[in-house]
Amino acid sequence: MTRFVERHPAWALIIIIAIVIVLWLVFSVWPPGLEEAIGRKRVFLNAVFNGITLGGLYFLVASGFTLIFGLMRNVNLAHGSLYLFGGYVGYAISASTGSWILAFIVAFILTALVGVLLQVLVFRRMEGQDLRQTMVTIGLSIVFADLMLWACGGDFYQIQTPSWLIGPVELPLLTAVKSSGEPVYLRYPLVRLVIFAASVIIGVAMWLALNRTRIGMIIRAGVDDRDILAATGVRIQLVFVLVFALGAGLAGIAGVVGGTFQSLSPGEDIRFLLASLVVVIVGGMGSIPGAALGALIIGLAEQLGSVYIPTYAIVVTFLIMVLVLALRPQGLLARR
């Protein structure tokens, strides 16, 4: 931190000013002039919260993607299919048992199993051949998409939000003060906050597991040098299977989350594959904190864009990607 300030004093200043402005925008009561210029504070706060919570969902999808890539140098373009598969499984479970939590557990286990099968049956046969793996996973994603279309139809499904999560909560953030002097607080959908909290917990747990445990150490060692790690007697194939299962399972969980606050339908697989690609390109391939930062940036860009520049909202994400690729092609938080 201090080194960064010493090395880039100008950038540090800009970042600090930006943070102060954002904090002020979030916590103060907006003067009327500002409301006139950029709209009501409620809209702004909602867009920010939506961006952050959407970022949570993107992070869940992209973290599995980046984990698999980080260890195996393998771009799994069937990752979006795993997301959609997890969502459909979650829908089936929650529709038949009525339990939202159970949907997560079963979706995680089943998609993790599919991940294991993919690893054992497909990727192990073409280890180290990047192009072949990429082509095969594209093919697989098309096959999976058609199989799911056949099984579930083109209908859109929504996983029922449990009744204790429906509706908004009041947050201690002022949006306006009524003329009577009574403060108006921000009301925000509870389910999104819970999902965001869950993705933060998963993210932190993953970071801790990678950086503080023995298995994490093995995985990180595998990222740096697979061959030497294998030579030291670690059963690297087992580690691969484990990581693949975890990454796929996370995509499955994300599917249930996505099915809860958005919806599931054919085409979602591609959308989330694209989103996670953009997220990891922005954040840095193979880095978990990078995926978190990328997801946050993309989520915020999408939501703020859809409010303030609706016409060009779609372009914003790709503009960010282009900028990152031009200025820092390895991604914002890539390992050197």
Binding site: L54, P189, V191, F261, S263, S306, V307
Partner: protein
């Protein structure tokens, strides 16, 4: 939902075509949005098409109709690609296409490059398709989005006493046309539209859109369809939304009213207008509903046909009736068939339909309100029927032309 009904349809039409090999065939290409946001709409459109074939049969004199279905995703390029494939590879002679607004404009323009063929619009409803520079070989037997909103603005103003509304709509031609129809009437009666929000087709996360909805309006008009509408309603429920709602023609439709989950309950009591009403007591309509219900098992259809099923039914009906009039004669660049289509008046399930000089439908429109049937199923109940709605919405053509083409900001909210 274990088997895709469309797949079955495609299979069965293959079988049927196999049996008819020996006879002379007339090949017809059909497109529907069987992918993307509007998948459900496309599927039900095909069901309507199939229902028409069940009722009317495929025989034209001693010839047999053969249908080839191609899939699109509501984007104009996908529609042109599908139509081109049908013409160039499958050698179809007649097209029943397309489903969605932007697709319609693109296919109409494409139709001009094949003046020898005949295009019958399947369900698309952008105004521009037949109003601006119409193609002589493009016929539309359904009304456009603005015609489908006739009656809504006035009813909302007079009966519901709404004075200020805001709109949220998908950002493409059909919804522009719908808001155009709504605004002309509502603003003409003295109402105000304070805010128009446009979201891209295929938007998944509506939370910010919902947050930006104004509080100081009497109602919010929703011009969404397919997956977008369901997503919106779901997130609207999560955000605890309570405003009065008004709906466009594909928003208040069985494609949404019979979606899974309980988010759709926000729509009970919603005022809407469309080219049909689920509970209309007309005999022809009731017969169509029954034909539709008999054609498919209950889990492979909606409780009642959607607007898309009705439109596909109507266009298929027009195709078959006109072909029968000329006894399947497609010689001389199909000129007899085209002439028959232009003069044709069909007794569609949703009222009589005839064509104007631009080959655009003049038909009946319905103002509806969403009701619960007591068993959890939602239907649109007719509150007003307006016959003989033409494309200029009863305005003098010269005045109508001055309003401009439907877009994000046209028409202005004033009396024309």
């Amino acid at each position: 939902m274990l088997k895709c009904s469309v797949g079955l349809l495609a299979l069965s039409s293959l079988f049927l075509s196999g049996a008819a090999m020996a006879q002379d065939k007339i090949k017809v290409g059909v497109t529907a949005t069987l992918e993307g946001t509007y998948t459900v709409l496309g599927e039900d459109g095909i069901r309507g098409h199939q229902t028409a074939l069940n009722v009317l049969g495929k025989k034209i004199g001693d010839k047999e109709l053969e249908f080839i279905i191609a899939s699109t995703d509501a984007t104009p390029d996908s529609a042109v690609r599908a139509v081109r494939k049908l013409i160039e590879q499958d050698k179809v002679q007649i097209l029943l296409s397309p489903l969605s607004g932007d697709e319609g404009i693109a296919v109409k323009n494409f139709a001009k490059t094949h003046p020898e063929l005949t295009f019958i619009n399947a369900a698309s409803g952008a105004q521009e398709t037949t109003y601006v520079d119409p193609a002589p070989n493009f016929f539309r037997f359904n009304m456009d989005g603005a015609q489908w909103q006739v009656g809504l603005g006035k009813y909302a103003y007079d009966e519901k006493k709404y004075r200020k509304i805001a709109t949220v709509g998908e950002d493409y031609s059909f919804i522009y046309t719908q808001v155009f129809g709504l605004a002309l009437e509502f603003c003409g009666a003295g109402g105000q539209i304070t805010n128009r929000q446009w979201v891209p087709l295929g938007t998944k996360d509506f939370a910010s859109v919902i947050a930006a909805l104004p509080d100081d309006v009497d109602a919010i008009y929703l011009g969404l369809g397919g997956a977008d509408a369901v997503n919106f309603l779901n997130q609207y429920q999560q955000a605890g939304g309570k405003a009065h709602l008004m709906g466009g023609s594909i928003m208040i439709d069985q494609t949404i009213l019979s979606s899974k989950g309980n988010a759709k309950n926000a729509l009970i009591g919603t005022l809407a207008a469309s080219g049909q009403a689920d509970t209309w007591e007309d005999k022809g309509w009731q017969k169509f509903v029954k034909d539709y219900q008999d054609a498919f098992p209950p889990n492979k259809r909606f409780p009642s046909p959607s607007l898309l099923a009705t439109n596909y039914y109507g266009s298929t009906m027009a195709l078959i009736l006109a072909l029968r009039q000329v006894n399947g004669d497609l010689s001389d660049n199909q000129s007899k068939f085209k002439a028959a289509l232009a003069k044709l008046e069909i007794d569609a399930p949703n009222g009589k339909i005839k064509l104007d000089g631009n080959r655009q439908a003049i038909g009946t429109n319905f103002v509806t309100e969403v009701v619960d049937d007591g068993k959890g199923a939602l239907f649109s109940k007719v509150v007003k029927v307006i016959p003989n709605v033409n494309q200029t919405l009863g305005y003098d053509p010269a005045v109508f032309a001055k309003i401009g083409l439907p877009s994000r900001t046209v028409p202005e909210c004033k009396k024309y």
